[in-house]
Symmetry: C2
Subunit: 393 residues, 2 copies
């Protein structure tokens, strides 16, 4: 595990912040994809890149002997992300497969390591784009026309990276191969720290979504334009930011405006346009919807829904089986979206394991997990995979 980690660590790392910028289909992302292909090749696994760009490394033939068991996560990052969010799950999956082989285990079902493409949506705005395309939750035409901040479409970005975007969309052939998916992920909160456990199992993913607030104003000179003549969209951004916090408190949810684009963004120019993205999540959908409505009202704009994920309850039978298998580890809900949640929502039997995060910090260069906890995660995942591949369903 340590060697894999060391190989991956410098890829896409910003020298100044120490954070990662592994955005979908950029050179850093392609380097991660090459790393994945090399790890598959080194183990003699069959590498399959599906139509939507997700990578699968199969031990055994899922078409002949499937469906199989899949362990995996993603390799891309948010801007200035941490090293663990995503990669820990992929590295741990390879490491767990190695343990099974070291023990001489011959799986009764095909086993794969997977890396889902563009989980963070950092470049094109839609989180879990690879798994959403796979299940059909994201429309292929919409996906192809998504643009990054430079105006490059996802289709062009894929093409430049050597991936043909013509055949994006729901992929039943690939889905049929996946009997069970287990995603290991660094925890992004402090639930495991609070109970003193290195590993936990997921119960549900909170309903969550992203909305665009596109605030139009009138560009003008910051010095010579009288206050009463101004149409300054920055004031409406300010109202939206404060409303997001107030509404989140009121409804027991969380809401964040963490991404803003100001045009023309000049010190002495009143903005012509401010775009802001609202991220809102909560245990109950109605609360999330209420937060979004209150923020939109405060900003006097329609909130344009860019993505929405209803509550995901992971398969309760599988969850209880894994909890027992791991000696009664804690079960926890999460407010973070994951590819395992997208597949679960599409009817795939799925589960998640979380590895303790000592500070709870994530989506930051300061994100961390202790080495011992990472090894405990691999142990747990190997135990789960041995169990799931031993018995055909």
């Amino acid at each position: 595990m340590d060697g894999m980690w060391a190989d991956l660590l410098p890829v896409g790392r910003d020298g100044a912040t120490g954070g990662y910028r592994r955005h979908a289909w950029t050179p850093a992302d392609l380097a991660c994809r090459e790393w994945f292909a090399a790890e598959a090749a080194r183990r003699g696994l069959d590498l399959v890149v599906d139509r939507n760009g997700n990578q699968w490394a199969w031990w055994g033939d899922p078409d002949a002997d499937g469906p199989g068991v899949v362990a995996g996560s993603h390799l891309d990052s948010v801007p200035d992300g941490g090293a663990y969010d995503g990669p820990l799950g992929v590295v741990s999956a390879f490491a767990a497969l190695d343990r099974l082989r070291d023990r001489g285990l011959v799986p009764g079902r095909p086993l794969a390591v997977a890396s889902f493409t563009d989980e963070e949506g950092a470049r094109f705005g839609i989180a879990c784009a690879g798994s959403r395309l796979l299940t059909g939750a994201l429309d292929a035409d919409r996906a192809r026309n998504l643009t990054d901040s430079d105006g490059t479409t996802l289709a062009d970005a894929m093409r430049s990276a050597g991936h043909d975007p013509t055949h994006l969309g729901r992929d039943d052939e690939t889905l049929r191969r996946v009997g069970t998916l287990v995603e290991l992920h660094v925890e992004q909160g402090r639930a495991l720290v609070d109970v003193g456990a290195p590993v936990g199992v997921a119960s549900t993913i909170w309903p969550h979504g992203r909305w665009l607030l596109d605030l139009a104003g009138e560009a003008n000179h910051a010095g010579t334009t009288r206050l009463e003549d101004r149409d300054d969209p920055m004031l409406r951004l300010a109202a939206a930011v404060l409303a997001a916090r107030e509404a989140a408190i009121e409804h027991g949810a969380v809401a964040t405006i963490g991404r803003v684009a100001v045009a023309p963004n000049g010190t002495n120019a009143i903005p012509s346009r401010v775009r802001a993205w609202l991220d809102a999540r909560g245990a109950v959908e109605a609360d999330v919807r209420a937060v979004v409505a209150e923020v939109a009202a405060a900003a006097a704009v329609d909130a344009v829904e860019e993505s929405w994920t209803a509550e995901v309850a992971f398969d309760a039978t599988l969850r209880d089986r894994l909890t027992g298998l791991l000696g009664g580890v804690p079960v926890l809900a999460t407010a973070a979206g994951h590819d395992a949640g997208i597949l679960a929502a599409a009817g795939v039997e799925a589960a998640m394991l979380f590895v303790r995060n000592p500070t709870g910090v994530s989506h930051s260069p300061a994100e961390h997990a202790e080495v011992d906890d990472c090894h405990a995660g691999v142990d747990a995942l190997a135990t789960v995979l041995a169990h799931l591949t031993a018995a055909r369903p």
Copy 2:
């Protein structure tokens, strides 16, 4: 005039917005500088580029027969700026010089057209950088170390553009040549529209400045981080934006936050840092200072002064002379900074002419002046220059 205007119009224009991005020492700016050099050469004027990068096109020898009379403005723009802010003054100066020649006038004093470099400060943050360096109001070492949003220093940007930054700083040799400076500029408000006059003369420039609010927070996951665990600097930005408007109303000033930089600027990440720039101006310095203090208090941060220009009162004798010469045109104060204000503050005899702006809109692609008003501006400038060059002071 129309030919010069047509040549300059496409330089640095954004195809999508129709606005200009002629930022200091970029290719678009260099194209403007080449345009200036070609216009000087076409007229047989002596082109001088001073140590700070300002361009001067002399008719006559200011060292032997000076000091001379200078008409000029700037060619750079804010992001998505209009076509008139700056270029109208330079084009009008060449056109006025042409009229004097067409009339067979032989000036009694040397006459120059000037283009000051980096007036808007769009790239390196300091407005009127070229004229401030010339007068010593901007320290040379500080200027060399200013950085743009890519981290490029002003020194490196100059060097890349073929200008040696070693000898930046107060330039008495150049200043000695300037007996009187007249800057013609499109009005950036509606004072002339309100009184129905195509041309006016400046009285004062309001005290004004720029301040950086550097708001540090803690990057974290937008979904999984509890509200009470957050240190989200976007909330302090919102407080600053609203406080700026409230304080400006209270103190009869104007205050704008039009430029914001968010890191990491991800939809699902609480920002680690938000930097915002406050532009504040008012008729009375104490009011401006009070606005800045209230904004800083609201944002719980020190406001770092990036530039400050005290009130400039243009030479009253010259102002009255020009007003009379032009048949009693209106006299108006402005809240916009100008190179003529920087030179006036350094003791140079200076005046400004404003050309009517039908909407008052500036720092926007929608900025406009009617052709007839532009010609009236050239007429006025030619009258002023004929007067000023006829009699040695």
